[in-house]
């Protein structure tokens, strides 16, 4: 940020930051997105479907670019594309083995659409840039409300599906025999990932989405084997990365997304080193 200087009086720094509406919006949207990304990310990592999350983000890029061409809010394009692509991906590949191919096919097609939309779009190049790398400082109060609604819907769905989703993620065959609708769950889950991706793109952008969805959950998975604890840890890591990233970004000339991704990455590296050492010193 220009014209603002960091002082060691943290309370006045925070007051200073929160004096701006765009910073308040950024902190609010960042908190909602961290909560959703942390929770959904836990299942993405548990189910080993990080490629699906990655692909959905790029599919979202095409959607956002398409919305920009039509002159509507990119978040609607993100939602439309992420949800329908999520449905197609979930429906095409039932088993993990076939899924990567199905996802790759959808990914390639929609990225092609994205290229077309970008070439059709006559507006500023910054629009494409903000879709790719996030524009958390450009979030409006309306965006915050929409983020809240989408976030609430995805969290409510996860809460409803919690146990069967956990069961199907860990042991699909037994879950199926116990009448868990594994195929339906897999479609609905990829669509929930689509929702999480659509809201997270606003904060870190299409290319950096793993910093909020995958990295915090991977940290949590290394720290705890209890699903409830792991969910909380993932959310806390995502939230701290976002908020600290925002605060650092406010006082520096560099992009907020860079700080968010770096903090989340550094957390992973530290946790991995610590748990790795602990694992080696343990006899079993």
């Amino acid at each position: 940020m220009s014209g603002t200087h960091f002082s060691w009086n943290l309370i006045s720094d925070v007051n200073d930051m929160l004096g701006y509406e765009f910073m308040r919006n950024a902190f609010e949207a960042g908190a909602i997105v961290s909560l959703v990304a942390g929770v959904v990310g836990y299942f993405v990592v548990l189910r080993r479907t990080t490629f699906a999350a990655h692909a959905l983000a790029h599919v979202g890029f095409a959607g956002a670019a398409g919305a920009a061409v039509l002159g509507i809010d990119p978040v609607w394009g993100l939602l439309a594309f992420c949800l329908s692509a999520g449905g197609v991906m979930g429906g095409l590949g039932q088993r993990l083995r076939g899924r990567d191919t199905a996802i790759g096919i959808v990914l390639a097609f929609t990225l092609g659409l994205g290229v077309l939309f970008i070439s059709l779009y006559s507006g500023y190049a910054t629009e494409a840039y903000s879709i790719l790398f996030g524009e958390i400082l450009g979030i409006s109060p309306g965006d915050v409300v929409l983020t809240l609604v989408i976030g609430a819907v995805s969290l409510a769905l996860i809460a409803l599906l919690y146990r069967p989703l956990l069961f199907a993620s860990v042991d699909e065959d037994v879950a199926e025999a116990r009448r868990v609708p594994v195929r339906g769950l897999s479609v609905v889950f990829v669509m929930i990932v689509g929702l999480a991706v659509a809201v997270s793109v606003q904060v870190v952008g299409v290319l950096l989405i793993f910093a909020l969805i995958v990295t915090p959950a991977a940290v949590a998975e290394r720290v705890s084997t209890r699903p409830g604890q792991a969910l909380v840890i993932g959310v806390v890591v995502a939230l701290l990365s976002t908020w600290i990233g925002l605060a650092v970004g406010y006082y520096s000339p560099y992009p907020v997304s860079f700080f968010i991704t770096s903090i989340s990455f550094a957390t992973y590296v530290v946790v991995r080193a610590v748990t790795g050492l602990r694992g080696r010193s343990r006899p079993h």
Binding site: A159, L160, R163, V170, D173, A175, R178, E221, T225
Partner: protein, 278 residues
């Protein structure tokens, strides 16, 4: 090992199994009594897992009648405990054994577990299942830190936790060495006898099971034959089933080896390392 005289646990009449339009075996007639330990044997691709899926209600019979515990098989019966075929658990999974077994209690229920008084009862059931397979000591450890045998014990505990009266184990020991296969079959037999559970265990090799088996259900050549190992694992019966000349050799320790299937390139009873996709 005596079989109890009561309603049969499994009754099949003129049963045909397979996928729509392509039956794998047909005209199967057999009855399995309560408390029996039945080994399901046969070559790769002969339809052993198909039989298990029919019993689970995951497939419907192509022809004939099938009754499991007195009713037509249906998905989600808490009366059936199941350990599927496969490579076992993902060793990287960040869960404890105790959570894995707990999924067998209420993993199929919607929502998350609320703090209710019934949780105490749930914990008791999980602890009992873990104890019955000797997995209590490592139930709090990360699944990835356990050996293959320990993970299989956890899956068995998960299958037992709903207190089933029928256990369906589809090649549960395929990744274990022969010694562990024998130990695990003995464990299954002990638990089953203590709880009066009927067991159908799909296996590649009859020999690690020979001390615990009551009967053999042999699936091969488009048919199913059931009887005691002495009745079924013999040259004439298997030759008729396969429709090809087959010999059964018995060594000095009573182990049986099926030979004469070179054209099928399958030696289901003497090669522990052949992986089955049946």
């Amino acid at each position: 090992m005596s079989t109890q005289h009561s309603t049969p646990v499994v009754e099949a009449h003129g049963l045909a199994g397979g996928y729509r339009g392509s039956p794998i075996w047909c005209n199967a007639d057999f009855t399995i009594a309560s408390g029996e330990f039945v080994g399901v044997l046969g070559p790769n691709g002969a339809g052993k897992s198909t039989l298990v899926k029919l019993l689970l209600g995951l497939l419907t019979p192509l022809a004939g009648n099938l009754l499991v515990l007195g009713s037509r098989p249906y998905r989600g019966s808490p009366e059936i405990g199941y350990v599927p075929q496969g490579r076992g658990l993902d060793p990287e999974i960040a869960l404890r054994g105790i959570d894995l077994v707990g999924l067998g209690v209420d993993g199929h229920r919607w929502g998350f577990r609320l703090p209710t008084p019934r949780n105490g009862e749930r914990a008791v059931r999980v602890a009992r299942a873990l104890d019955s397979v000797g997995a209590t000591d490592y139930a709090d450890r990360r699944v990835g830190q356990l050996s293959g045998g320990e993970r299989q014990r956890l899956l068995l505990a998960q299958a037992l936790v709903s207190e089933p009266s029928l256990l369906l184990l589809d090649e549960p020991f395929a990744n274990l060495d022969v010694r562990h296969q024998a130990t695990m079959s003995q464990l299954v037999a002990d638990v089953a006898r203590a709880r009066g559970i009927t067991v159908l265990l799909v296996a590649h090799d009859v020999n690690p099971l020979r001390r615990v088996l009551d009967r053999v259900c042999y699936v091969a050549g488009g048919g199913v034959a059931i009887g005691t190992p002495d009745e079924i694992v013999t040259g004439p019966v298997l030759s008729r089933l396969y429709g090809a000349p087959v010999e059964v050799l018995t060594d000095s320790r009573g182990r049986r080896f099926v030979v004469g299937l070179e054209e099928e390139a399958a030696h289901p009873h003497n090669d522990e390392h052949t992986h089955s996709y049946g």
